[in-house]
Amino acid sequence: MVDNKHRIERRLDVQSHTKNLALIRNEVEDVASKCGFSDADIYQMKVAVSEAAANAIEHGSPLGEKNQVHLQIECSPGRISIEVIDEGVFKARLPVTNGRPSHRGRGIFLMTALMDEVNITEGQEGTIVRLVKLKNKESLKEREHFPA
């Protein structure tokens, strides 16, 4: 029952460098708009993906620019799933700035605030962050009250 016309799969592998964040965001925007997501939704997933990719670059690339960041996007009619995969190990340390608690550390929170599902898995080959957004959440909620 999947509408194959609206099923899109896309893969992008880029060098681990923050200059490529814009490229990653463009890819997300391209697929998400083809999938029919609203501008506000697209903006939010661009921020979430960019946060995950920035973490992959800053914390999940032990060889620096020699590592890659992998983006895997899957869009079915009501739902987009974006995976950001790096080649490192999850670093379980919050940064400290000049001996004081850091003003950083808002990236993971932002992902959870902007997406409907956030999954962080410490895989064998690298950290996998899966970000999911649903389309037409309101209509889903309505369906709850008026079952077919």
């Binding site: 923050t18 965001r25 960019s50 920035a54 808002r106 929170f109 932002l110």
Partner: protein
């Protein structure tokens, strides 16, 4: 980034485009250096900023933390709705110490200049 300094007026730092983890390091060192030159209070004009993420949020907080001990204040001008939403989520819009949010440069200048003269 463009800086407007007029005598007797709070300097305006005009940033445009996308404030992400790529853009922030350069912006940060410029803004920090500018405050260090003796400009305790600044206006960050983000009217033409189309995208911001947690790196930009950190930049705003850092500017406040740099400006505040010098007796200064940071005025932030934001007009883009999507940008405002991000700032709201991370609590920036509710900051009140050495910080104010404005919807235009004129509003920022009018409000902050009064205080500066006092």
């Amino acid at each position: 980034m463009e800086v407007q300094v007029l005598p007797g007026r709070i300097p305006i730092i005009d940033v445009d485009g996308e404030i992400d983890h790529y853009a922030v390091p350069e912006l940060e060192s410029k803004i920090m250096a500018f405050i260090d030159e003796g400009h305790a209070s600044i206006i960050l004009d983000f009217s033409d900023v189309s995208y911001i993420d947690s790196a930009g949020v950190a930049l705003i907080i850092l500017s406040i933390q740099k400006s505040s001990p010098l007796g200064g204040k940071v005025g932030l001008v934001v007009t883009n709705k999507n940008v405002l939403k991000i700032l709201d989520i991370v609590g920036i819009t509710k900051l009140a110490e050495a910080f104010s949010l404005y919807s235009s440069v004129e509003e920022a200048l009018a409000d902050m200049s009064g205080e500066q003269r006092g």
